[in-house]
Amino acid sequence: TSAVMAVVCGRGLLAPLSGRLWAGPRVPLRSVAAAAPLYDVVVSGGGMVGSAMAAVLGHDIHFHDKKIALLEAGPRKEYDRMPDSYSNRVSSISPGSATLLSSFGAWDHVCSLRLKPFRRMQVWDACSEAMIVFEKDDLDDMGYIVENDVIMSALTKQLDAVADQVEVFYRSRAVGYTWPLPSYSCDTSPWVQIELADGRRLQTKLLIGADGHNSVVRKEAEIKNIEHRYDQSAVVATLHLSEATDNNVAWQRFLPTGPIALLPLSDTASSLVWSTSHEHASELLTMDEESFVDSINSAFWSNINHSDFIDTAGAMFRSAVSLLKPSGTAVRQLPPSIAKVDPDSRAMFPLGMGHATEYVRHRVALIGDAAHRVHPLAGQGVNLGFGDIACLAHHLSAAAFNGSDLGSLKHLLKFETERQRHNVSLIAATDVLKRLYSTRLAPLVLLRTWGLQATNALPPVKVRI
């Protein structure tokens, strides 16, 4: 019990460690080391990415006899059935992420709660007619819109299923970390020491930081983070359509102030993600429901930002393309119109971008937003995190089956190389797109108009996206 732990640990009730014990006098930690329980892996942060990481490892056959702990500051989240109204925090789940979730049985739970597959994505500009449509040739699902609460509930269930391997500490926040020296020294503990807010202590052979874009693990490890706050906030809400429809298209229109997206939840409801300036976002939150709905419809339908010049230039380009490649322009569908918004479903949160220069250290690995943070315009955020999990779990599984020390940099660096290679280009591209689309200046609009039209006409480029 934690009371016994605190007594035995002695220093447990003192102020949190600063975590900067790399230089300076080292306290012989043998007596404390004997008391604090030792885990093979501790995942700090029980959000979607942290919980999925713990669940994947817990279900891995080579981790059958290992001890894993998951630290989550909040309470346990589980639903047997969802409330009738939709939550305003949703994610676009790629087919790859769905595969990962089904590899340990979580996707079945998601499907039994609720989700919305979409077949098509239409993206267009507010300043011109340029449009790009994404869809799979074989009419497969392109992705799924799932409420974050649904994902969390499914993950909680699958964590319960491996309770022998994974111990979940709810309402537990880590306040201090003590790092071991990289090369072996005889009188100090080689493990990472973790101190919780309530004074309990843990030790681990590998610490995985999944604690979000303000990651404490990353800060305490003094890993440099390249970050940038956008002048934008995202407004989210749950919307009801004017009429029921085969709601299987994801819509995104780039306005000069930022992209507005409509993600299908059901045949009658969609989720709004509108990235715009902080001031406009606050306005949207405070205005009455009718004005709010009008703003959304106007954002999707109005041509106020078009200029004759751009329209003509765009039309010329389009005719040129259709000469070269007759099938190169797709049918433009019309987005649904909105009738009303769910009361109390409007919320906003600031947007930024971030990328950690290192994903790993000796006995430490960062995944999810702790490692990289993107603008929601590409719908990639959580998918990058799930991709991190698949890669790290693969390397840890092999390491466990080789009898290796789980915290060894050898395999952690392989994870870092693979993921940085994948993530950096996507994060950079998202950032460039965000900046490119934040302007009305004619040359840049023309550039992106032609660019979008060209991309729409070129299958190889589209498939890569």
Binding site: A33, H64, W191, N402, G403, S404, L409, K410
Partner: protein, 289 residues
Amino acid sequence: QLSLFRLTLKRFFSTSHPSVDLKEMKKFQRLAHKWWDEEGEYSALHSMNDIRVPFIRDTLLNMSSNYHLGNPLSGVRILDVGCGGGLLSEPLGRLGASVTGIDPLEDNIRTADQHKSFDPVLAERIQYKSSSLEEIVEESMETFDVIVASEVVEHVADLEMFIKCCSRVLKPEGSLFITTINKTQLSYVLGIVVAEKIMGIVPEGTHEWEKFVPPEELERLLESNGLSVKTVNGMLYNPLSGSWSWMESTSVNYAMHAVKSGLQGQSSPTDVPSEMESEQPSATAGTTM
């Protein structure tokens, strides 16, 4: 005075323990504290785990049908001869085996004991002893399922005696794994000149070309002592990537797996029907994986 006492003890060792070469021991004394620095003098041995542990693991799993992938070597008793700082004992222990690690150098054993002490699972599964192989033969007749002698036979004084002792402490049908260096022109160039003198992959003076063992000779010694050679594989170290890989040719480093013959007339207790070993050593040519 303590050092004088220990010197006397060591001298006593060398006459009754011909597998221990005093000169060799002195070489390793200096580096007894460097074992666990993964980027240090022993980095090549650390990275050798990436191929020798799967080799041992998969060979043993292929011979058995009753194991759990979460604890693949559970119930297997392994003797790690010349365990040094425990670089190979620890991964084998993590895979579930009960490991006894022996090394004639006390400082090595001390380092190994200290390193395992922080992990309660390993502390229980691995026992280290400062001892030569001869010393434990009497009390450990036919005790071990597996003996591992990795990067050791090129350091022993009397190889035939070493192999005889291995055979005595191995259970019938037990496995012996050896990794060592061939005695060829190439192994002189790569193993001594390049590895020691030029690139410093191995501390200078660690190896003596005269003591390298060609696989043919090792095979002959094993077969004539009741151990049937099942596998011989060449190994190659890439100094640029710091990693090992398998290769066809055994002209530099190689690994060997041999199995002790079962007692005649006794049916083998293993789950998978294995070849019935006869009294005569089988004329097995070296097979590759």
